[in-house]
Subunit: 187 residues, 4 copies
Amino acid sequence: MSAEKNKQQLKKELSYQNIVETATKLFAQNGYDKTSVDDIMKESGYSKATFYLHFESKDEFFLHLMDYRLKQFEEEFFKLFKPENNLKQTILNGLRLFFELTERDLWAPIFFEFWSHAMRNDMIKERMQDHYSKWIRLASSVFEQARSTENLPNTINTEAVASLIIALCDGFNLQNQINANLKIDVG
Amino acid sequence: MSAEKNKQQLKKELSYQNIVETATKLFAQNGYDKTSVDDIMKESGYSKATFYLHFESKDEFFLHLMDYRLKQFEEEFFKLFKPENNLKQTILNGLRLFFELTERDLWAPIFFEFWSHAMRNDMIKERMQDHYSKWIRLASSVFEQARSTENLPNTINTEAVASLIIALCDGFNLQNQINANLKIDVG
Amino acid sequence: MSAEKNKQQLKKELSYQNIVETATKLFAQNGYDKTSVDDIMKESGYSKATFYLHFESKDEFFLHLMDYRLKQFEEEFFKLFKPENNLKQTILNGLRLFFELTERDLWAPIFFEFWSHAMRNDMIKERMQDHYSKWIRLASSVFEQARSTENLPNTINTEAVASLIIALCDGFNLQNQINANLKIDVG
Amino acid sequence: MSAEKNKQQLKKELSYQNIVETATKLFAQNGYDKTSVDDIMKESGYSKATFYLHFESKDEFFLHLMDYRLKQFEEEFFKLFKPENNLKQTILNGLRLFFELTERDLWAPIFFEFWSHAMRNDMIKERMQDHYSKWIRLASSVFEQARSTENLPNTINTEAVASLIIALCDGFNLQNQINANLKIDVG
DNA sequence: TATGAATGAGGCTTCATTCAT
DNA sequence: GATGAATGAAGCCTCATTCAT
């Protein structure tokens, strides 16, 4: 009985995973609007109706996907990120890790797809604000901790600096999209 | 006869202008895919068919619009940009001007709309590459000129620095879209 | 074993009852076409597939439901209907009872739903013809019996009169659906 | 120029008429829910999109159709209805005319389709209330005028009587739908 | 030049029904 | 007996585009 249930459950989870992965890929490649539910389901090998077994609508799905991907990215980062005693080293670690993760799969295009929607949809905007708050808080805390071990001037607004570093990363990724030759040499 | 022709031409240019302005606004507000030709033409006050008098297709129109806007932005910038003897001052001037122009109208969202398409369409990607080349060349040249007057180390890759400064600006604008409180204090 | 079977049978009858009651309510509220099998089963608390354990299809189910409801209505009526020696009193009794039953539950809307389908489906039309035949026969027989006790002219077509009285009731119920203030003062 | 405009206008009116006529027929035959926009447009010989040139949605169209048909019915009735000095004659005239119009086209089924929706949609309910108010007012006024010429008891509630006569007509039409042999011999 | 009418193709969503468990 | 997963078919609606005037 429990095994049976497990089997059905597994089957559903499988289709779920499949849909999410496929959609991520297609959204990254063609954008949200140019990717139809039909496209997603044909590529996943399930019927269109199966999509609506899992999600209420295409829009609701996008929100879901965002949460899923953003959280996944954060988790992977936090799992691997190792702060060091040396501030510079910590920053370099962080940047290196960030760009590594970014290059995996099609993270950058899907991420800018999130951005694009955040500008026009308040619910999505909130999600992005939360996401950025987390990064800024992290970077900020690194600087704060470094205040005691390194000679950081007290006047430095750590949040502003964190924000700018993140801006730099995003802007770099943006340019990277149209100029793949661009290479950053972290360290 | 020539006067007549002139009149017609003027009229056509007027409707052209009108369409482009309206479309820019709507694309900025709702994005390319969520803005229909119908929307644009209803808002401009012309009939839908008039659109196809001016442009071959919606896609071709987007290319037009991009060229038009990008060129306009560049022209406004170059018209007002005043390099100074002092490098720092020149940079600050440039940044201040850039952010001023950026805040006008709905430049940032329409600009990221261009980005979004550049990632997926080679023709548009080329336009964006050209655009960025120009900015990088400009910034780069500023640094080169400064080499003689300021003590810039010869090892500095001026193109890389230019690229990073631009990345910073774009990244900042990106964050600004979801966090309007963000304020940069140039200078 | 027999007890077990009985238990199962009872269970099945229970779910059957439940489905029919729920469906009646939903059909009355929203109409047949606007009520999905899903709606019915969610509201009854059973799974969608259970529906097909009991019925072959939604259409076949509607037939079931009609028979069930029509018979139930007739039974309730005939159980309570008491013909009297006095014709007028008998008629008033009948009308009063009819309107009482009609006001219960959501009889009127579900009944007109039957009508709606009877106009377009021959099988359902037959059911309705049978139903009406019964009523007309009943009313007719009342008049016939009254011929001896009251001074009914022999020329009266009792079936036609019966038919018209029933028409009056239906028409009244119809108006009642959109004008709840309408009140008949039987007697 | 005016002629040209007229031609276009005529063309549009033609397609409009065509759609409305076809839809009336199909709604009468198969009911609103079982008639798709596709069905209507295939039968009218226009493309599906043309439907949305004229109407905002299928629902809005139904409202429109109702208004159109109800008004048409009323107009035809009032055009032909001739009140007489003799009350009985006037009533017979009215009934005869009513049943004549009712038998034309597929008035009865489409009319009960309106009813069916009126029970579940407030906007449609209002339309039907208005419609009935008109008939009751008409019949009522006939009785009022008859008070002076005929010996109508002052205690008669003319509105109630009007309402019941109309109920009778509707109920008769209802039965007529499933029993075409039913014939009323007015007069 | 300008436009209103018309459309084919496609997008999102729902639903009655089947089937493996 | 009961159910969750899955689906083919169909429904409503939108949109970029064409064409006759």
